[in-house]
């Protein structure tokens, strides 16, 4: 069963994903890291602005709006779809992998 990996801006409204990788560079990357968008973080797309972009994401208890340019650079694995139902049985809570860079 393959994980559904997509760009963060493809995440449907109401769906949640777990960050797989962060591809942005330079100051954008630093800004994203500061917001806690590190791999294995859970992100939920909460709503789209009236014109479709930017999209507001719930990350670590705060709602942050990102333009498509930024959110495209974040790859996520679908965890739960719009209805909040778990994707192929994986648990919604994210387990940390220990010793990330040992």
């Amino acid at each position: 069963m393959a994980d559904r990996v997509m760009e963060l801006n493809q995440l449907p409204e109401g769906a949640s994903g777990e960050i797989v990788s962060l591809n942005s560079v330079g100051s954008v990357r630093n800004r994203m890291l500061d917001l806690g968008l590190v791999p294995q973080t859970l992100v939920t797309a909460v709503h789209r602005s009236p014109l479709g972009d930017p999209v507001a994401f719930l990350v670590r208890g705060t709602v942050i709006a990102l333009r498509a340019e930024e959110s495209q650079q974040v790859l996520v694995k679908l965890i739960a779809d719009e209805k909040g139902e778990a994707n192929h049985g994986s648990n919604q809570s994210v387990d940390r992998v220990d010793g990330l860079f040992k």
Binding site: L22, S27, V28, R29, N30, R31, M32, L33, D34, L35, G36, V38, P39, T41, V46, H47, R48, S49, P50, L51, G52, D53, P54, A56, R60, T62, V63, I64, A65, L66, R67, E69, E70, R96, L100, F101
Partner: protein, 461 residues
């Protein structure tokens, strides 16, 4: 504590050497480690007791919805204006009555001590009368507008506006946070220009600074409100303040459209470049504490802006009186200058006195209408101006049409920023070139738009 250059170089060299030996991205690893610790702590400290209705998301669903997001913004804007106009009417009239009543008393005193007529004219008819106008016309709307605005700000609505509008600003090559600086500009453009510091990219910051003037500041709202009343009052039978509010909201909307167009133009020409990154927090809604909100908005904003207006209005009133009473030949200096400007003024649907008022109003937009009134009054006999109806009569007597009122609104919205704002732009950009452009761009646009409107109106008859 001093570190000499040699030591600096040594340390930096060593640091670079060690850095090169590291595998992977250091900043990534730091962020991951810190957030790992953050998660460990929050997991032990925070417990979710019971699932709670998420009011923020519920509100946001409406406030930022495809269908309602924009209409709601427009409705709120109109509501704020309507409350301001309606609420300010009576206190304004009351203040004006009081001040102009006191003017009689003052004049009596001057006569009783046998002061020369020029001194009475300068101090009472010039300085005092313009002060009276500024306070009675500006104080009530500001005392209503600022608390309302601060309420929306403290509620957390403004970041939602930025969220809703960002797409348009991105298309214009500008930053979404420009909206926040524009909101600030509603209060005072100088404050709006300072607020542009929240935009990090220098290019987008400059765009925001150069276009901030297109949102009408509080010094211009009284002009807009008065002109809306004159315009609608002359045009529509059964005028009411709701119509005025919609007209003003329409003018503000036009200002936003011009902002977007000019931002787009700048980002395609003088300030070329890609939009920078945009991250905006949508904080929780918080019901503001009304008491402290009123105190803060009255003290920090209303009185601040009013004091500035008063400081500028007093000498300006005196100067206008002098200009109106120093004669060259058979005409006053004021009439001479106005006559000189009149041809151009009429070309763009205004007149010489209006243009002169805008020029003399450079120190602060608040005094444009008072100067205009003084100029019109200087020719005729003394008149008490205690209501908008009286103002309307005065303007109609001086050859105004609804078109004049409309163009006056447009010119007020689009023309050069006030001196304070220009000085602030100079300070923030540290560049005379950009400061000049900040004055020239709006002025050219104001002239072109007014000319077009006047021409179209003339063709229509």
């Amino acid at each position: 504590m001093n570190i000499d250059n040699g030591k600096q170089q040594l340390i930096l060299g060593e640091a670079a050497k060690i850095r090169q030996g590291l595998s992977g991205k250091l900043r990534d690893q730091i962020a991951t480690t810190v957030y790992q610790e953050v998660e460990e702590i929050t997991q032990q400290v925070v417990t979710k007791e019971r699932p709670q209705k998420d009011w923020d998301r519920l509100f946001d669903r409406w406030v930022t919805s495809k269908l309602l997001g924009y209409p709601l913004m427009l409705a709120l804007l109109s509501l704020v204006f309507w409350l301001t106009i309606t609420g300010a009417n009576y206190p304004s009239a009351w203040l004006a009555k009081m001040f102009f009543g006191f003017q009689e008393v003052l004049s009596g005193w001057f006569r009783s001590v046998g002061s020369p007529e020029w001194l009475h004219g300068f101090l009472v008819l010039g300085v005092y009368r313009s002060l009276a106008w500024v306070v009675s016309v500006m104080l009530p709307p500001m005392a209503i507008f600022f608390p309302l605005f601060t309420f929306l700000e403290d509620l957390g609505y403004l970041p939602r506006v930025a969220f809703n509008m960002d797409r348009l600003f991105k298309k214009a090559g500008a930053h979404g946070k420009q909206v926040l600086t524009m909101c600030m500009g509603f209060g005072c453009n100088a404050a709006g220009v300072i607020a542009c510091r929240i935009i990090e990219s220098p290019r987008e910051k400059l765009i925001a600074i150069l276009t901030n003037n297109f949102v009408p500041c509080n010094g211009r709202f009284p002009t807009l409100f008065a002109m809306a009343a004159v315009f609608m009052g002359a045009l529509v039978v059964g005028y009411n303040s709701a119509m005025g509010a919609f007209l003003v909201a329409g003018i503000v909307l036009l200002g936003i459209i011009i902002t977007l167009l000019v931002s787009w133009g700048l980002s395609k020409t003088l300030l070329k470049g890609e939009p920078s990154n945009f991250t905006l927090e949508l904080p929780s809604y918080r019901v503001p504490k009304v008491g402290s909100l009123i105190i803060r908005s009255v003290l920090d904003r209303t009185l601040f802006v009013l004091m500035r207006a008063v400081i500028v209005a007093a000498p300006a009133g005196g100067i206008v009186w002098i200009m109106a009473n120093i004669g060259i030949g058979d005409q006053s200096l004021l009439a001479h200058i106005a006559g000189f400007l009149d041809g151009f003024g009429r070309l763009i649907g205004l007149d010489g006195y209006i243009l002169l008022a805008f020029l003399l109003g450079l120190p602060a937009n608040e005094i444009v209408v008072p100067i205009l009134i003084m100029s019109y009054l200087a020719g005729g006999s003394l008149m008490e101006l205690d209501s908008l109806a009286a103002l309307q009569r005065l303007l109609l007597d001086n050859g105004w049409t609804p078109l004049t009122a409309l163009n006056m609104m447009l010119f007020s919205l689009l023309h050069f920023p006030c001196a304070t704002t220009l000085l602030t732009i100079r300070k923030e950009t540290k560049s005379t070139k950009w400061t000049l452009l900040a004055a020239i761009i709006p002025t050219v646009i104001a002239i072109v738009v007014c000319f077009l409107v006047a021409t179209v109106a003339r063709l229509w008859g």
